[in-house]
Amino acid sequence: MIDAGRDALCELLDTLCPMHAVLDPTGHVVQAGPTLRKVVPDRDPVGARFLEIFEMARPNMARDMADLRALAGRRLRLWLRAGPRHALKGVLTPLPVGQGAGALVNLSFGISVVEAVRDFGLTGTDFAPTDLTTEMLYLIEAKSAAMEESRRLNLRLEDARISAQEQAFTDTLTGLRNRRALEHLLERQRQAGQAFALMHLDLDHFKEINDLHGHAMGDHVLQVAARRMKGQVRGDDVIARVGGDEFVFVLRGAAMPDGVNNAAARLISKLEEPILRNGQICRISASIGATLSGLYTTPDITRMMADADAALYAAKAAGRGCPVIHDPAGLRAVPVLRGAG
């Protein structure tokens, strides 16, 4: 029944729009492009009613051929009734009157093209040579790969930034925090509003060790002292080396002056244990001045540092090797004498 002209038209349509369907006046598919056949894999679309295979969603529902013809030239949005529900785009155009009251529908994939190509197992030859689908797929893949590289670069840069910051905030000799780190930390600590104690520690007799045994011994003593300090505080407490033999402790959660005083006394006895190196024995001690955020109505870091310094000065004046806690009433606390506690 198919005449030569119809045959030629078939071929032409298969090449130009491989996802087309020709509908007869009753809305049945009389011809389907090769890609459309792939998209409707379980049945031969030819002979079926177009609206049995596809559900028209936009711009209007369509129930019959009259509804379909009324949508001529509009951007159609439709779904397969069976199989993956990827939205398809389409356009319908009435066939010339000589062909009866039939219509031509051409379909393409919408934004879900990547999934559709995968689910229907399509290849480059399933698209018209002028179709930009493969270029679009290329772009998606190329851009995803480039984005992935950029994402990895960002991660590496972030790691490098963190480790540079870590280095910038660390005292290289002792591995403790440095003064810069302390400033950041104290500001954060104050903002957090949680109770804390600030302890200023000065090693006693350290200068003599440097003078007597040299800087190598001095460095060794500092490293041992730093290790002992770390052993005496809790994990979230912070110790910073802020000068040659000066250290500042931030004791988080410390609210009781007696507790801080005891901790400081224990720390001093620990530091007083002899240090051995190459058969030589060194002894140091430490003086500590401390204050607690709980002693102030509004804790101010500069004020607290000054008070801790003053307490340290008092400890040194009292003969060194002892802690002094800041006394807001202005009465000088009696230093705990060594061996007394």
Binding site: E115, R118, T125, L137, Y138, K143, L153
Partner: protein, 200 residues
């Protein structure tokens, strides 16, 4: 020089000869780092020294080394993404060949700063083609032999039988002669258009 090119050389060496050899070559170059960032730029001199160092270490001529790199880029599973991107260019090898002139533009769509050499294809009939690889791209690095490796591996990938010959260099371009003997010589590797997103 775009870092992607140095990075490609690095991947080629690491995947073909191992990390030890790579670190060894880089240590001799004394650049102060031992890996290239694909999304950064480097001096052309770094790439030239790298190729020189590799040639000495591997006892390979520069041309052979570059061709090996081209083959690696298409055929090694570690860099499957590149082969996939190339396969988007054409449905068969002939289609791919005819789309070669778009390749620099395709590369730029993927990575805007990547400046590949211009490619010009001239048909001489009976399956014979002349491919001109420009000298202008990426600071004038000669990539003709890399192109040879890519073409050879892509022909394999499509299942086509080709003979390639590098015919030397003019003032503006390198010349590669391509003879397509049989476009359907073997069945080639399959290419699943939509597989890229699944893989990663």
């Amino acid at each position: 020089m775009h870092g992607l090119i140095n990075r490609a050389i690095e991947r080629f060496v690491r995947d073909s000869y191992g990390d030890g050899l790579w670190c060894d070559v880089l240590a001799r170059l004394d650049l102060g780092y031992d890996t290239f960032e694909p999304m950064m730029r480097y001096d052309l001199a770094v790439t030239q020294r790298l190729l020189e160092g590799l040639g000495l270490r591997l006892e390979r001529r520069r041309d052979d080394l570059l061709e090996d790199i081209g083959t690696y880029l298409v055929s090694h599973p570690q860099v499957e993404a590149i082969r996939r991107l190339l396969r988007f260019s054409g449905v068969d090898f002939l289609d791919f060949l005819h789309a070669l002139e778009d390749l620099p533009e395709r590369a730029r769509l993927a990575v805007a700063e990547l400046d590949l050499p211009s490619l010009g294809l001239h048909a001489h009939g009976a399956g014979r083609y002349r491919l001109e690889v420009g000298l202008g791209g990426e600071d004038g690095l000669r990539l003709g032999h890399v192109m040879m490796g890519i073409l050879r591996a892509m022909a394999d990938d499509y299942g086509a039988l080709v003979v390639l010959e590098h015919r030397g260099t003019s003032a503006t371009h390198e010349v590669i002669e391509v003879q397509l003997l049989d476009a359907g010589f073997a069945c080639g590797r399959s290419f699943d258009l939509g597989a890229g997103r699944q893989a990663g």
